[in-house]
Structures are given as structure tokens and as C-alpha cells.
């Protein structure tokens, strides 16, 4: 009886009781969700254009961040380091296209998927070999990212917003906006969209498939870098992030593999969902539910909409 109470009544009473806490939690969730969305975005970019389910996105984030920090530690000025890192991401993109994608073209999805697994291990190995395994601190202020926090009095309480979080949210949203514009209005963007539908179409636009792959993987790399910076600034840069990045999966499942807005919405649902869940229901089961709650949320959604939130209903033909 009181179990039912503690599940279905008590949490809501708490919310009502301390709305400021609720808002705080929501905000936390929101920022977390944004970052999930960023990672998911990387997946979406690549999946859209090359149909490859790029499992390596997570490690790309880590790798990008590590490169940035690593370069800085080697004494490279922050923004030069940033530029160089972007260059590195481009090299990676080019290499991936040449070494992995081109030989595997026309292979079944599962094979390409597996190949990105291989890529993941490769990058982990490289990252650790070059930069060492131990966590690093993101060079936030050198990049003029704000630090400290603003306290907002509201609902008879105080909601604390980390400036970095606000920055993260803003930058992320800005970037998402840019990408959507890029896809909607630029020639390359349209070409990329075309590829998603049919490769011939893309060629007709006059861009070779290989170029397109390089471009999307590079874009994904840049997204990864920004994600890495943000995430790094909030916590620190470590390989643990790679497992966190897996949460992009439920996000994608919710948002659909090919939809940018989907990624955002999915990200927010997951982010907020798991924070709320952890904060209000977590204690019941001993806490630390973030590790799995995201997936279960996605699962529940899937049971009702197997094609995700934004995917359209599949009519099976035979």
C-alpha cells in the first residue's frame, strides 16, 4: 500500500512541495538532454547521408576533446589548438571514408555497423596511446567559456544555473539551427538529403558519394568536438564519456534515425526523463538509475510506436 503511495503519490507531492527543486531538476535534465541531442546529432548526420549506423560517434567526442586538450598541453594556443583539432577531425573523416567506407560499400548495414565498432576500438587505442588514459580538464576559460553560476530566485526558492550550462544550451541550439539551415538551403545540404533517399540522386547533384561521406563524417566530427568541449567543461574529459554516449541510442530511437528535430526532442525527453526519474523515484530503488533509465524510457515508447516519434508508419510489402 505505502509502496503504491511512494510510487504514485509521494513524488508528485514533492514536486508540488518544492517547485524550485522541480525547475532545477528540469533544467539539469534539459542541459543533459541537449548534450545527448548533440551526440545523437552526430549519428543522425552520418546515418542520413550514408545509412551507416556510426557507433564510433561517442568515441569521436572523446577523441576530439582529448586532441584539443592534448594540443593545448603541448603548448599550442587554445584557438589554434581548436583549429588544429578541427583539422584532425577532417583527417579522420577522410581516413574513415578511404579505409573503411569505400571498401565496404554495398555491404549489408550490419557489416558497416560492425566496422564502426572496429573504428571505436581503434580510436580508443590511439587516444589512450597518445594522450594517456587518465581524465583531463577541459580548457574552458581559455576558450572564453563562462564559468560560475547565476542564481534565480523563483517559486519561493533559488534555482542555480551554471553559466557553462546556459552557454552549452545556447551553442547547441545555435548549431542545431545552423545544421537545419545547412540541410535545407545549401546545395551540399540538399545533396546530402538526396543521398539519404537515393545515391543516384546525389550523383545527379554532381557530388560524388565519396566526397559526401567525407563531408558528413567531418561535420559529425565537428559536432563531436563541440559536444566534447561542452561536456568536458561540465565534468571532465575521460573515456567514461564513451559509455555515456551510448545514451544517444535511446535518443535516436525516440527521434528516429534521420530527423534532426527528432534528435533534439528525443534528447530532451531522455535527459529530463532520467533526471526526474532519478531525483524523485531513484531513491526508491537505491539511486544511480541514470545508467539504465534512459533505455527503459525509450523501450516503453517503442512498445507503442515501434517506428519512433517522428518516423512514419511502415507498411510491410511482400
Amino acid at each position: 500500500m505505502d509502496l503504491i503511495y511512494s510510487i504514485f503519490v509521494d513524488p508528485f507531492l514533492q514536486m508540488a512541495g518544492a517547485p524550485d527543486l522541480l525547475v532545477q531538476t528540469l533544467w539539469e535534465g534539459f542541459v543533459g538532454g541537449i548534450l545527448y541531442a548533440l551526440i545523437a546529432l552526430g549519428f543522425v548526420l552520418i546515418f542520413k547521408a550514408s545509412g551507416v549506423f556510426n557507433f564510433a560517434q561517442g568515441i569521436m567526442v572523446v577523441f576530439a576533446a582529448l586532441t584539443l586538450v592534448g594540443l593545448y598541453e603541448k603548448g599550442v594556443p587554445a584557438f589554434l589548438a581548436l583549429a588544429l583539432t578541427i583539422g584532425v577531425m577532417f583527417l579522420i573523416a577522410a581516413a574513415v571514408e578511404r579505409v573503411v567506407l569505400r571498401p565496404l560499400v554495398n555491404q549489408p548495414d550490419i557489416i558497416l555497423f560492425m566496422a564502426t565498432f572496429g573504428l571505436t576500438y581503434l580510436l580508443i587505442g590511439l587516444g589512450e596511446a597518445i594522450f594517456g588514459g587518465n581524465p583531463k580538464v577541459m580548457i574552458a576559460e581559455q576558450l572564453y567559456l563562462p564559468k560560475g553560476a547565476v542564481d534565480i530566485k523563483m517559486l519561493g526558492g533559488v534555482v542555480t544555473l551554471q553559466k557553462i550550462d546556459i552557454a552549452a544550451a545556447v551553442i547547441a541550439l545555435a548549431m542545431i539551427a545552423c545544421l537545419s539551415v545547412f540541410f535545407q538551403y545549401t546545395r551540399i545540404g540538399r545533396a546530402l538529403r538526396a543521398v539519404a533517399d537515393s545515391h543516384k540522386a546525389a550523383l545527379s547533384v554532381g557530388i560524388s558519394l565519396n566526397q559526401i561521406w567525407v563531408i558528413v563524417w567531418f561535420l559529425a566530427g565537428v559536432v563531436a568536438l563541440i559536444t566534447g568541449i561542452m561536456w568536458g567543461a561540465r565534468s571532465d574529459v575521460s573515456f567514461a564519456l564513451q559509455v555515456v554516449a551510448l545514451k544517444a541510442l535511446p535518443v535516436l530511437v525516440l527521434g528516429g534515425f534521420t530527423s534532426i528535430p527528432g534528435a533534439v526532442v528525443g534528447g530532451l525527453i531522455i535527459g529530463i526523463g532520467e533526471k526526474i526519474g532519478e531525483f524523485y523515484w531513484g531513491p526508491l530503488v537505491g539511486g544511480a538509475t541514470e545508467s539504465w533509465l534512459a533505455y527503459c524510457i525509450a523501450l516503453v515508447f517503442l512498445m507503442f510506436r515501434p517506428q519512433g516519434l517522428f518516423g512514419e508508419r511502415i507498411i510491410e510489402r511482400i
Partner: protein, 271 residues
């Protein structure tokens, strides 16, 4: 007068006795698009029934409704006296409806023999624990069904590819294997979706022979979709003609050939 009435009664009674499957006012829609509207026809025991029509006439959708893959929005389908609204494909299968597909749907990773053996799945009932051993009863059952499949293999003259993975086979043979797989189910009603699509003349002739033989030997009722009018008219007893989801004619090949609407419908389509 009353005699006539009786006669009619008799007629009706016999017709009823003969019909294996009746489709009544079936309609099917995909997100607003009407694939089938208000289709009715019947299939009698032991006949070869053809469903023809221009591309997109809804022929395949019709078959999909019959074997429960699609669920009609309205209308009734009665098979062997049992009427049903919704049912899962495997239920249709277990009631004795087998099916081949427009673009071959074989199990690419498996050999011809294994493909045909899957057709026996419903007839196999040794439980999981015997399967673990694959000896004794399980093996005996396996063999008994192997023998049945070997008869089919012999019947379809595909001995030489018995153990070839079907993925490696030429199209014509794949079609034949698929027919074999359907036959292995010992169906009461066999649905053939364009059994001769993309075949050369020789292969078509073979396939015709097989279809007729199946109908004769196994006394299997057959409903088939086919584009090749010549073939259809030769081998089928009765023909339903669909166009844009509507039924425009139904009757013996000659009747259908004579029907003005059919002629119009086919003027557009090249054959």
C-alpha cells in the same frame, strides 16, 4: 415450378458445398488510399482460380488479405466455413493456406532441402527436448518429413540442387523451390503470386505443367495472379478481374475475354 425451386435449391446447395473460400465485400485502405474496395468472389474446391488485372489493381493486396497478412477494413473472408475478421498469417497457414511470392521470398541462407523442410514446420510436433537430442523420435520425425519433401523434390525435378543454398540458384529454379516449399505445407488452398514472372518461355511451360500437375495429383485448389494472359486463360477454370481495387469481371476465361470492361482495362496495358 416447385421442381424448379428444388433444382435451384440443389444448385445452391452444391455450389455451397463446393466453395472453399468466399470473399465478401472486402475493402482495404492504406492511410486513406483505397487498395481494395468492396471485392466479393469465391473459390471452389479443386479449381484453378486466376486473379488478373493491370498493375496496381490490388491483386497482391487481395492475396495478402486472404492469408491474413493484411487485415481488411471491412468485409468478411470465409475459409472452409470459418469466417474471420482479423487473423495472423500463421493462423491462415495452420488452416491450410500456402503462398508463394511475387519476388521470390525464399530463405536465402538455407539449402533447397531446408527451405522445403520449413514448409513442414506445422506438421512437426516433437517437443523441444527431443529436438535437443535430435535422436530417437525427433530424428524419426525429421526423416519422415524428409521423405515427404523428397517426393516433392522428385515431383518438381530439382534433385540436382537439393543441397545448394537457394541464394546461388537461377531465378527460375528459385521460383520452383518456392512452389515446393508451399507444397510441403500440404495446403488446401495454394496462393501463387505471379508464379511465372520474369521467366523465359521454356520455364513458363514447365511451371504451367507443374501447376496443373499439382492441381491434378494433390487435388490442391489454386488461386493465382499472373500477368501473362495467354497462360492464365489456358490453365485457369475461372478468372476474377480487378482494376484499381474494384472487381470488373468474374467468370470463365471465355466470358472474361468477351467482357468489354476487361478489354478496355487491358487496352492501356501492354502484353
Amino acid at each position: 415450378m416447385s421442381a424448379l425451386a428444388e433444382m435451384l435449391q440443389g444448385e445452391v446447395a452444391r455450389a455451397a458445398a463446393e466453395t472453399l473460400l468466399t470473399v465478401e465485400n472486402v475493402s482495404l485502405t492504406f492511410g486513406g488510399v483505397r487498395a481494395l474496395s468492396d471485392i466479393s468472389f469465391d473459390i471452389r474446391k479443386g479449381e484453378i482460380r486466376a486473379i488478373i488485372g493491370p498493375n496496381g489493381a490490388g491483386k497482391t493486396s487481395m492475396l495478402n488479405c486472404i492469408n491474413g497478412f493484411y487485415h481488411p477494413r471491412s468485409g468478411r473472408i470465409t475459409f472452409k466455413g470459418k469466417t474471420r475478421q482479423r487473423m495472423r498469417p500463421y493462423e491462415a497457414a495452420s488452416q491450410g493456406i500456402a503462398r508463394t511470392f511475387q519476388n521470390v521470398a525464399l530463405f536465402k541462407g538455407m539449402t533447397t532441402l531446408d527451405n522445403i523442410l520449413t514448409g513442414r514446420t506445422l506438421k512437426m510436433n516433437r517437443n523441444f527436448f527431443w529436438q535437443l537430442l535430435r535422436h530417437g523420435p525427433a530424428m524419426r520425425e525429421e526423416i519422415e518429413h524428409r521423405i515427404y519433401c523428397e517426393d516433392i523434390i522428385d515431383f518438381l525435378e530439382i534433385e540436382h540442387i537439393r543441397k545448394t543454398p537457394v541464394g546461388k540458384l537461377p531465378y527460375g529454379l528459385q521460383k520452383r523451390v518456392e512452389l515446393g516449399r508451399a507444397l510441403a505445407m500440404q495446403p488446401d488452398l495454394l496462393l501463387l503470386d505471379e508464379p511465372m514472372a520474369g521467366m523465359n518461355l521454356e520455364e513458363k511451360e514447365d511451371m504451367c505443367r507443374f501447376i496443373l500437375d499439382v492441381n491434378r495429383h494433390f487435388r490442391t485448389t489454386i488461386a493465382l495472379i499472373e500477368h501473362d494472359m495467354g497462360v492464365v486463360m489456358d490453365i485457369s477454370d475461372r478468372v476474377v478481374v480487378l482494376e484499381y481495387g474494384h472487381k470488373i469481371a468474374d467468370g470463365t476465361p471465355d466470358e472474361v475475354k468477351a467482357d468489354q470492361r476487361v478489354i478496355d482495362a487491358y487496352l492501356g496495358v501492354s502484353h
